[in-house]
């Protein structure tokens, strides 16, 4: 569908377009007011950096649209909400072809004649490579570019080696780093990328913004000038904060404005009065992704919450799984786990809605809000709005799934809404939040350690003593956590003694009341994660206080980290969730069939 500019505020529109190796998901931000003749395609970095920079990309797209550019931000094939997996062969080819497809798509739907490419880190590297291959790109905006693919691979190799937990099943020639698995072929292709080897100017002009945490011009500006390009080098702030953490990502709006200013300086608005823009593309529905059906959905009273409904290609059960944000991670979940889980569950007959709470990802940004801690925000009404939406679609059973803070939102919503028939809580570090906390958990869990159980088991290994002697263990911090745990236990015992009865508030009685209501709970816990301390404090060793409850199950996973960052641990989680849903479909609870390498209690 093609349309021209018109002076009215236009909302960004999700869309799907085809690339050679599969469908790509993206968002068009239509130019506001009188449009320019240039469309801007935003090329994402990879893995963790893509997750952290998501809001920056969205805001940049809005900023550029306000300045009169049509903007397309999208996920490469095999990433984000697009089709495919990082384990598919030869990803670099797929990423480059995705950029080319995105360029073709924005030219078609926005009617722009010129194109600029923007990229951060490896996104910048790919933008240069794609521009060189395609030709005809007018401008390049490269923010903290990886000059070579080799440099990127070194960083990923270091990140992988420095991972604290999480067993990887990557082969000897593969790399499992920062939430992505790079196959041997992909690594080979990455090693061949080199922005300094371009022989022809990849664009007419380039803006190169250095990293603000390690300012250095690097070889690119000189190389591009040699080729006759007009080059602007800038040291603008924003990179380090943008990629530090999905929750803490700080948007440097001055830099985004400066980027828009640089592009605007050479891209005049169209002189002719714009034609009335025809209707924007409708929300894409029932498009095929990896053998299942997906639909982009807006819901809530003002259609301001966004999610993706994933359904089996044919038929469906009455169960819908709602996947809840983890901290500031948008709806693809930590390391894209929700996308992989959603499609695997749909292949097994279960539908899911992965969506963004207000203030996160593609849902509304309440005025003056930032990505606050999920514990402070009142997220439960958003989840209930999602249940309303799914109920209208005909679903009858609602299972809430969340990791860490997402588990908190799931648990609190289940307590509020009797329609919730099940919850899957993974590594919850807190399930209750109090303005005036009764114990030290809220303060203590702000710091991450390994579980006390891990340290106890480690005492049996001689290398811990060697590390203790070398001072390599944060003895003070671990001791503080142990002290807090002891104090909390004493406090609870004293309270029970004085009352001569157990308390009727708290995590344990709440879970019991949910079970009595028929709402089942599956907890998936990483054995070494300190969320185990919190859970075992409330529920006893490996959930023993709920052992008799047929609606409660706790599954332990060995060698996985807090957010299941490795390919192997994600696959295991998905298997456990699918088995759990299968068992819920049976007339009577029949637990069993827990995958190997997982200890069940």
């Amino acid at each position: 569908m093609k349309f021209d500019g018109q002076a009215r505020a236009l909302r960004p529109v999700p869309l799907v377009f085809e690339a050679p190796e599969g469908s790509c998901f993206g968002w068009l931000h239509p130019a506001q007011g009188v449009s320019r003749s240039t469309g801007v395609v935003l090329c994402r970095p990879m893995g963790y950096e893509a997750l952290c920079s998501y809001r920056t990309y969205s805001l940049l797209a809005e900023t550029l649209a306000q300045a009169g550019f049509d903007v397309l931000r999208f996920d490469y094939q095999g990433t984000g909400d697009s089709a495919g997996l990082d384990t598919d062969a030869g990803r670099v080819t797929a990423w480059l072809e995705s950029i080319e497809a995105a360029v073709g798509h924005i030219k078609r739907i926005a009617g722009v004649s010129r194109v600029a490419l923007f990229g951060v880190r490896l996104g910048a590297t790919l933008a240069v490579e794609a521009a060189g291959r395609m030709g005809g790109v007018d401008s390049l905006v490269l923010w903290a570019p990886c000059v070579t693919g080799r440099a990127f691979v070194r960083e990923m190799r270091a990140a992988s080696a420095n991972r604290s937990m999480g067993t990887s099943d990557a082969g000897p020639d593969e790399l499992d780093a920062m939430g992505c698995l790079y196959t041997a072929r992909t690594l080979e292709q990455l090693q061949a990328l080199d922005c300094t080897r371009v022989q022809q100017p990849p664009a007419r002009q380039a803006l190169i913004i250095a990293r603000d945490d390690m300012p250095a011009e690097g070889p690119l500006p000189g190389k591009f000038r040699e080729l006759g390009m007009a080059v602007t080098s800038a040291n603008w702030p924003g990179y380090a904060a943008m990629v530090s953490d999905p929750l803490d990502a700080v948007l440097e709006t001055a830099t985004l404005d400066a980027i828009a200013g640089w592009l605007s300086a050479t891209e005049p608005r169209r002189e002719l009065a714009p034609a009335v823009r025809s209707a924007l593309p409708a929300l894409p529905e029932n498009y095929a992704m990896d053998g299942v059906r997906e639909s982009a959905q807006r819901f809530d009273a003002d259609q301001s919450l966004f999610g993706i409904l994933c359904e089996p290609a044919e038929g469906r059960s009455e169960t819908a799984v709602l996947m809840l944000n983890v901290g500031g991670n948008y709806h693809i979940g930590p390391h894209r786990m929700y996308v992989k889980a959603a499609r695997a569950l749909a292949m097994a007959g279960y539908s899911s809605l992965r969506f963004d709470l207000a203030g996160i990802g593609d849902s509304r940004m309440p005025a003056g809000s930032s990505v606050d801690s999920m514990y402070f925000r009142d997220a439960m009404p958003d989840v209930r709005a999602a249940i309303d939406f799914l109920a209208q679609k005909g679903y009858r059973r609602f299972c809430l799934l969340g990791v860490c803070s997402g588990a908190y939102v799931a648990f609190q919503t289940a307590l509020l809404d009797a329609r919730v028939s099940g919850q899957i809580l993974m590594n919850p570090r807190l399930l209750e939040w109090e303005a005036a906390p009764r114990d030290g958990w809220q303060a203590s869990m702000r710091r991450h350690y390994k579980s006390i159980g891990y340290y106890r088991r480690a005492l049996l290994r001689s290398n811990l003593y060697q590390r203790l002697l070398r001072g390599e263990v944060d003895v003070k911090g671990v001791a503080h956590r142990m002290g807090m745990l002891l104090t909390a236990r004493l406090s609870r015992a004293m309270t029970a003694l004085l009352r001569r009865t157990g308390t009727d508030v708290g995590v344990l009685p709440s879970l019991r009341s949910l079970g009595a209501r028929g709402c089942n709970t599956l907890m998936i816990m990483s054995e070494q994660d300190d969320a185990m301390d919190y859970v075992e404090f409330h529920l006893g060793k490996r959930g023993s206080r709920l052992k008799a409850d047929p609606n409660f199950r706790l599954v332990m996973m060995e060698h996985s980290d807090h957010t299941f960052s490795t390919h192997a641990s994600q696959r295991m989680v998905i298997d456990i969730v699918r088995d759990h849903l299968d068992q819920q479909q049976q007339p009577a609870p029949a637990w069993g069939g827990i995958p190997a390498r997982v200890a069940a209690t």
């Binding site: 963790y48 960083e155 990140a159 420095n162 604290s164 945490d213 530090s244 991450h448 944060d474």
Partner: protein, 85 residues
């Protein structure tokens, strides 16, 4: 020629700027575990890059491992090896 004090001072400076540690680096001992003090794998990559810039070296692939970046002393040992000769 750099002295051991120079090394430690520069390493601490890099850690202050890039390590995302939960406490001030001046309070850390040479053998304290940096990961235990909050350095993430993402931050450790930035530490590696900043050290390469500060010391004009490149960590070879066999040194891209957790034990090389786990403490100030371990980093110092690696840098000593890389800058010798």
């Amino acid at each position: 020629m750099k002295t051991l004090e120079d090394f430690q001072s520069q390493i601490r400076s890099v850690l202050r700027d890039h390590g995302r540690l939960k406490q001030d680096v001046s309070g850390l001992g040479a053998d304290d575990d940096l990961y235990q003090h909050g350095m993430t794998s993402h931050a450790s990559v930035n530490v590696m890059l900043a050290l390469e810039g500060a010391f004009d070296i490149e960590f070879p692939d066999h040194m891209l491992k957790r034990s090389v970046f786990c403490s100030i002393a371990a980093i110092e040992r690696a840098l000593t090896e890389l800058t010798a000769g």
